[in-house]
């Protein structure tokens, strides 16, 4: 096995265990791993951005291919840096105006079309469907997203939730029933979202534990076992030290 793979295994195992040690209590190993994570990810992003943007997309096309028009976006981008010079900071507004203008122009129509119009179109489906040869049908299958029962449920859900957020009318009498129905739909939605979140977090734990099991292999030098021992030892030593030297009360 290549030496870099083995070193990678030791580093990955160590950092995983150091991060997991926080579950016991905050400690220097966790802080080390946390700061390394932040530092490495920021460093990686800066280097990749520099290489891709400055070298590949700006410097090379201008110098090697003579694409001088690229200087226009570069100049607009450079205006942003004037934020650091208080007297010239106002110039950066031109760059921001350009970005906000272009960004809004691109995003607003597309977002309205995709998330509002398309979703409204889907919400107001006909309750009864006309199938050639079969006539008008009402489908009961909850498993079919396009069934008539699902259409009714969605209609009730959307209307009641919208009513719940309509604060101009006091929720009393029939209005209270509709608002309560809206709360029920909201709770179901929150429950589904939380269930998926739990699943996702467990998946991350499974991913790390799968790697830790893989790194118990002798070909890596069993880093999981050695580093688990080291982490536990550190936590024990820390616990003893804090018992013998309790923190002074201010």
């Amino acid at each position: 096995m290549p030496i870099e793979t083995i070193i990678g295994g030791w580093v990955a195992t160590g950092l995983t265990l150091f991060i997991f040690s926080f579950l016991y209590k905050d400690n220097p190993l966790f802080k080390l791993a946390e700061n390394l994570y932040v530092g490495v990810s920021v460093g990686y992003t800066i280097i990749k951005t520099y290489d891709t943007v400055v070298v590949q997309l700006i410097w090379k096309p201008i110098v090697e291919n003579g694409e001088w028009t690229l200087l226009i976006p570069v100049a607009i981008g450079m205006l942003m840096l004037t934020r650091y010079v208080p007297k010239a900071a106002w110039i950066s507004r031109y760059a921001f105006a350009f970005i906000v203008g272009v960004g809004s122009g691109l995003a607003i129509p597309r977002t309205i079309s995709s998330f509002i119009l398309k979703q409204i179109e889907d919400t107001v489906r006909p309750l009864l469907t006309l199938i050639p040869g079969e006539g008008v049908t009402f489908t009961w299958s909850l498993l079919n997203p396009a069934s008539s029962v699902n259409t009714i449920i969605i209609l009730i859900g959307v209307s009641s939730v919208l009513f719940y957020f309509f604060f101009s009318v006091e929720h009393r009498g029939p209005g209270k029933v509709v608002a309560r129905t809206g709360i029920m739909f909201l709770m179901i939605a929150f429950g589904a979202a939380f269930g998926y979140t739990v699943m996702a977090r467990m998946s991350l734990l499974i991913g790390r534990l799968t790697d830790l099991i893989e790194f118990t292999d002798p070909s890596y030098g069993r880093p999981s076992l050695w580093l688990a021992g080291l982490t536990i030892l550190t936590l024990v030593v820390m616990a003893r030290r804090s018992r013998s030297h309790p923190p002074e009360e201010k």
């Binding site: 990749k48 590949q56 691109l106 979202a193 991913g207």
Partner: protein
Amino acid sequence: MTFAERMLKIDRRIIFLVIGLCTLIPLLYPVGLPIKISPEVRGVYDHIESLPEGSVFLLSLDFDPASKPELMPQSISLLRHAFRKKLRVIALTLWVSGTGMADQVVTQVAREMGKESGKDYVFLGWSPGGTAVIINMGQDLYGAFPADYNGKPTKGLSVLQGVASLRDVNYAVSLGAGNPGVEAWYVFGKDKYKFELGGGCTGVMAPGLYPLLRSGQINGLIGGLRGAAEYEILIDQKGKAVAGMDAQSATHLAIIVLVVLCNLFYFASRNIARRQSQSGA
């Protein structure tokens, strides 16, 4: 202090330990619980199956190492399926922090399937701009990515023959862990340039993407590790996702039991407190 009150004040580290063991034991001793294929995952699989040989398949790996356990198995399965179907694969990422990992997974699966860079597939790497990259690709793919990840000019690559923009893509799948991801590919890609789109996402994001699925804005959705496991079953190549399913079921069961117990202890302690206050009065 009653038993119920003691249980409600249990050290949270004991719960961590229980969850840890529920995850670790099934990973070490798998049971092989059955996995049912959901229609949303089958949607992606069936569409790739229906594509003729040589069709253009775009895979956008829009995630970083933080979502690796969920989205890496999805990437591997989709790439294996596409390569097996002899599709022309265009891979890229919109997340700068995931560039190295995306390159690693594409190269690794291509090597495993005996595919050649530039001829059977291309990894375009990352380009700045997020959603603007999608629009740029829709207008001119070579303008958005003049060179691939290895610095080779994209113009002239045989894998991109006849591909000028996103309009020439037969099927695109975005594996997203956030923004830009599946939604961005729909809003700025499919809706404008009219190609078929499927999605893959982390479990956290899945509920938010179901409305897009139901309205037909995406034709399939692979959600989290569970979705990846279903896809591994569909392509008949079991991997890390299937291996993790027993652990997933065990932890879910443990959490359900904990939630039920906590509720029981809570109501029991409340009843006791009420009775005590009544007897005191």
